[in-house]
């Protein structure tokens, strides 16, 4: 996993950052702790969820149902999104013992489950019909002989990952959000971001790096479900 590497990089970045010691506020204190919270190490709600507290399930639902439901709606349509979302949270509850906070964020894990649910539903709808021999001959193949519809599955997976990233960006502090948006959407260099935000280059470098590390941690686990 990369969160440990990211954590090391975070410390190194802070130590080597020439701009981190100036009078401008650093986001170090803000960003360091949320990384752990995102991964659930110290989050009592996630700990309670994993240990089987059904009250914690409701808390998890209230935190992440909009993300899961929106992804299901975009992938399946409004009519089937509610059923799919229900299946996702029930599957998560049933599989809660397999969730490892150190291996990825909870929303990434939930969205990973949602991705498979969506693909399964589309497959059962016949959008990627399969023909399986259960007579014991060992043959199993999709209609096209390639194991489903890889293109559609990849598109669904990418949609989920984009929505997961967008949600993580919204959770960043305002200044970090602005830097990340300038980087992502306007493809500005760090120097240009520093000029646009009227901040020292060193501050932009360290803060932007922390933000990217945090975003990457938020996505971890999505592809592993």
């Amino acid at each position: 996993m990369t969160q440990n590497q990211g954590g090391d990089s975070l410390d190194k970045g802070a130590a080597s950052n020439p701009g981190s010691g100036n009078e401008l506020p650093s986001m170090e204190a803000v960003l360091d702790r949320p990384i752990e919270l995102t991964l659930g190490h110290d989050d009592p709600g996630i700990t309670a969820f994993v240990s089987g507290d059904d009250g914690a399930l409701k808390e998890i639902y209230e935190r992440h149902s909009s993300l899961v439901f929106s992804f299901c709606t975009r992938s399946l349509g409004a009519v089937r999104a509610a059923d799919a979302t229900q299946e996702v949270f029930l599957a998560a509850w049933k599989s809660r013992g397999r969730y490892r906070p150190e291996s990825g964020s909870l929303p990434a894990w939930l969205m990973g489950i949602a991705r498979f649910k969506v693909i399964d539903i589309l497959r059962s709808d016949g959008r990627a019909p399969i023909s399986v021999d259960l007579t014991g001959s060992g043959e199993s193949r999709d209609e096209d002989g390639r194991g489903g519809n890889p293109t559609e599955n990849a598109a669904i997976s990418l949609t989920g990952e984009r929505m997961l990233l967008a949600e993580a960006i919204k959770q960043l502090p305002d200044r970090a959000q602005e830097m990340v948006r300038l980087k992502f959407f306007e493809d500005l260099t760090q120097a240009q971001i520093a000029e646009r935000c009227d901040l020292p280059l060193g501050t932009v470098k360290s803060d932007l790096r922390r933000s990217l590390v945090r975003l990457r941690l938020h996505l971890e686990g999505y592809q592993d479900v």
């Binding site: 990089s9 080597s16 059904d54 409701k58 639902y61 149902s65 909009s66 993300l67 899961v68 439901f69 929106s70 975009r74 089937r80 509610a82 059923d83 979302t85 229900q86 299946e87 949270f89 029930l90 599957a91 509850w93 049933k94 498979f116 693909i119 539903i121 059962s124 019909p129 399969i130 023909s131 399986v132 021999d133 259960l134 007579t135 014991g136 001959s137 060992g138 043959e139 199993s140 999709d142 194991g147 984009r162 929505m163 990233l165 967008a166 919204k170 990340v180 980087k183 992502f184 959407f185 493809d187 500005l188 260099t189 760090q190 120097a191 470098k205 990217l212 975003l215 990457r216 996505l219």
Partner: protein, 233 residues
Amino acid sequence: MSEEFTDPSDPDSDSGEFANLVLLGASLSESDFELMTAPTDLWDRIAAGVSLAEPTVLTQPTVLTQPTVLTQPTVLAEPTVLADRRNRGRRINSSRRIIVAAAAAVLILVVGAVGIRLVDSSRTSTELVASTTLDVLEGPATAQAKLLRSGNTELLVVTTENMPAAPAGSHYELWLVDPKVTSPQSLGPMTGSTEVLIPDSIDPAIYPVVDISLQQNGTHDHSGHSLLRGTLQ
């Protein structure tokens, strides 16, 4: 991609460490940031499903089997009182017995009907819809399956015996299959006895065959290597 993420001459360069993340970020659209609120009743449905999935609920007696209503002694005890008054005349006694018995019967029916309605409205009753003992196609394991229903939610309870650990790199998977065996529906991996909520998208009437297969890890389609199979009846 921005040059400082790839420019090796920049000592502070991230050297492509975040290249994939930046590419993904650049592909974001405004719609990726827009979230919709789930329907207000969705949590209640999930909570009901969680309740059904808990074994403690499944072992609770249903309201219909509880004696508190149908065997309530307060009304049925009346004939005892009547028996003490036989000196008032057999015809009167008989008439009163008939009236009281009829009243008791009506009361029982009414209370019983209310009880049943309460059971329906609370959706706490669990009924056995169908079951099967799976045929052994291969291996030492045996299995039985029961399809339970509570309200609109259905649960498949599979009890296995002598199921060995799956070989390295593989796992067991539970399926519901249609009789023509054209479209197996996965209910997920399993290691032994398990309880699985059946998604609304799968109708056991259409997919009545319970199948346990041996799957290579990482595969999502049925392997064709079935170990146990039986039809819910």
